[in-house]
Symmetry: C2
Subunit: 500 residues, 2 copies
Amino acid sequence: MTMNQKTFLPAPKFSLNDINESILKAEYAIRGTIPNRAEELDIQLLENSKSLPFAKIVYANIGNPQQLDQQPLTFQRQVMSLVQFPDLLKSKDILLAQKIYSKDSIERATKLLNSIGGSVGAYSSSQGVLDIRKNVARFILKRDLHHDPTQDLIDETASNVFLTAGASTAVDHILPLFAKDESCGVLLPIPQYPLYTAAVTLQKSKLLPYYLNESNNWSTDPKQIEQIVIDAIKQNIKPTTLVVINPGNPTGAILTKDSIIDIIDIAAEYGIVIIADEVYQENVYEAFEFHSFKKVLSELRKNYPSKYDNVQLASLHSISKGVNGECGQRGGYMEITGFSNDVKKVLLKVASISICSVVTGQILVDLMVNPPQPGDESYELDQLERSVIHSNLILKSNTLYDVFTRLPGISCQKPQGAMYLFPRLHLSENAINAATELNLKPDEFYCLKLLENTGICTVPGSGFGQYPGTYHLRTTFLPPGIEWINSWEKFHLEFMEKYK
Amino acid sequence: MTMNQKTFLPAPKFSLNDINESILKAEYAIRGTIPNRAEELDIQLLENSKSLPFAKIVYANIGNPQQLDQQPLTFQRQVMSLVQFPDLLKSKDILLAQKIYSKDSIERATKLLNSIGGSVGAYSSSQGVLDIRKNVARFILKRDLHHDPTQDLIDETASNVFLTAGASTAVDHILPLFAKDESCGVLLPIPQYPLYTAAVTLQKSKLLPYYLNESNNWSTDPKQIEQIVIDAIKQNIKPTTLVVINPGNPTGAILTKDSIIDIIDIAAEYGIVIIADEVYQENVYEAFEFHSFKKVLSELRKNYPSKYDNVQLASLHSISKGVNGECGQRGGYMEITGFSNDVKKVLLKVASISICSVVTGQILVDLMVNPPQPGDESYELDQLERSVIHSNLILKSNTLYDVFTRLPGISCQKPQGAMYLFPRLHLSENAINAATELNLKPDEFYCLKLLENTGICTVPGSGFGQYPGTYHLRTTFLPPGIEWINSWEKFHLEFMEKYK
């Protein structure tokens, strides 16, 4: 060690006062106070499994199916293992003879390795692997057109698809383009997935909340949205961006086609970019129909081009939800439409600063949009696995919903899709006072007590936004079994009795 | 389709004038003009392989080893395929008997699956999987202490490790905390990896460039850094952050221990956060020694605690470089030290907004820091593969360096590490005038001509910053074979002749 001769007075460390204020202000409740407390209790249980009134934490705070025993789809994971270790293909005769791999998984892996240039360890183009973007384009066009698209249309659509590390990255890339500063407004549904409030806060832009109508199954009111736009403009705030989550998170509501048309009209008239978060498009219950914004916009454009050609839409999808549930693998896509070429180039530059999204996540996007087809060896197993997951989700949703409907002091809109219930808590004055004494929000108080008594980790409605004076919580219905639901029921009745 | 009755005048699309200015200004040359032109030419070759004076593009613009035929490490990929498809473990007897997998890869995969809770498809904690962070801590402590650390020290270090999707994400998370706005200054080496200029521009903070000394092997001059700090403070700019890239990108220079001490002194005296980008720490040539900032800071703290306890350091590492080269898999870590608990919590919140980094990338971090050991079945093959990659890199570096040394009109400092050469172009007035006529920077002109004549894609020095009036380019030495080097040599001589 060189002797250090210089003498100086050491400067202090940075404190919170020195930190970027908008980062300080940004909140993300899904991994906020209650989940953080849950992690502490989890460690306590590891050290002493008898130290708490429950044996384990039930993580219902986040839509993380594979943490909660949902099995990945076999075909997808066969392909993923092959692309990670292409040497396996040298032993394909043994692997096929021993029925360790299906024939179509080997074919798909071979094809994908070719598309990505041979290795998942190489950076891809910043927009994502072209062949995969073409498959995404085919999926979107088939979903919306119900017939096979032309190659030209596929190529054009693929040029507007960006592969991303899930919807979070897509929002990170596109929202700051138009949410420049405090002069720009972003319309967000309340309640909403808190990624959006966090992103707007980080940009120092103006939040323009529009409230979903709880008494009408959390429906969206375009008239209210237009009024907010008009009021913002009067206050010299330019509404640049409108976020829609469909199916809704945390509400589970699905937008009607008429509402979508009305929202697009507002975007067309006032020049507002629509961000349509459609990551739960596969999580739709039978009686309901999902209409993509892209499909509705395409129909409007076809019928009234001069009115709708300028509408700028970014649609998001993800491998984390649906029957895939591949959250930890980080994959998704963003499709843009209606943007000028100049703006598209800027978006590509933004993507290039982080070089590319994880290539294995891109491959899972391919597998999501292009599953085994009739005649493929994996087809039947794949269909079976999908239908088991799907029915399981519906069963779980209904079971939890029924309990909330039965219990006093709680009410719940029947979800139409997604992975959550967002029940309303009708808390007594006693409960509200008890919360205030502990310097907690009333719904936070309920969630904390629920956690500390049962191990069930949920997120207070205040983390998503809610109509002033109302209290909610968001819970996934994903945890396996019904024991946790029974313990929640017991806790709830005791809580209501204690704070009546 | 509902008839849409409302009449309105459609608003125009957004143009570049409407876009966030700091995003417009941010530049990332590694995927900028020249690489974009290369992608166009690549498509042209696909359509007509005879349409250009070369048969393929040689991507020397980016350190992307596996795009350029570097093979992944077998042990690592065996483990990766097993964690993707744990059903393989049911057939482990066959797989072992057929020598398709090694015993230790199966053991490691089993252990890792246990650490992550069973599935790579589940979100991990936002800071990263705890067991993997502990292995990172062991790696750091062994690297720096040269003896086995205590469990307490491992636990404490692990609590300061954040697993990230590569160094880019780490910078995205930490730099904006301290680069708040135009009142904050960020010291950056020039030339530098353009991720940093882009990040500072996005934050609207003040770039405080310090020039590396080309004539002395691109060494760093702490006196110059201190002068810049003093000058900035006089102009009411608070220097909050100092970036060091060691081994250097694009220069390949390695910092001496004395320089590191002097830099830490400046950070200690003026209260500046150090971001030490150490992603090339494994890419070090034999005659040189890599000293981590963490090691040097720990030694200083031990000897003079009162002077150095407040120094705040963030060190970055990545799976993309070294002998791993797993760029597309997006993994890395950031170790922080000296930060207050409050600030650490904010950093954790920032990480939580994007939920977690890709879990397979986290697993590759584990495999990077914890390779097979003597006695493990994979040990010998793994060592062999590493040494082949390492010697190949040195051979390629020397070959290209020798050519640059021999050619007229080009000079090059001998690299000490990393994956690049950053030769200086001594361009004639004729060449400079020809560039100006095309509205190109002189080094951009050279790189464009090189690309269009040989297919070799490099990045102009202007993309990294350079001393005014000097011209450079960055090239990796990774492409296989020497044919591309021969064609570069031929081009260069012709270019020099044409513009003499």
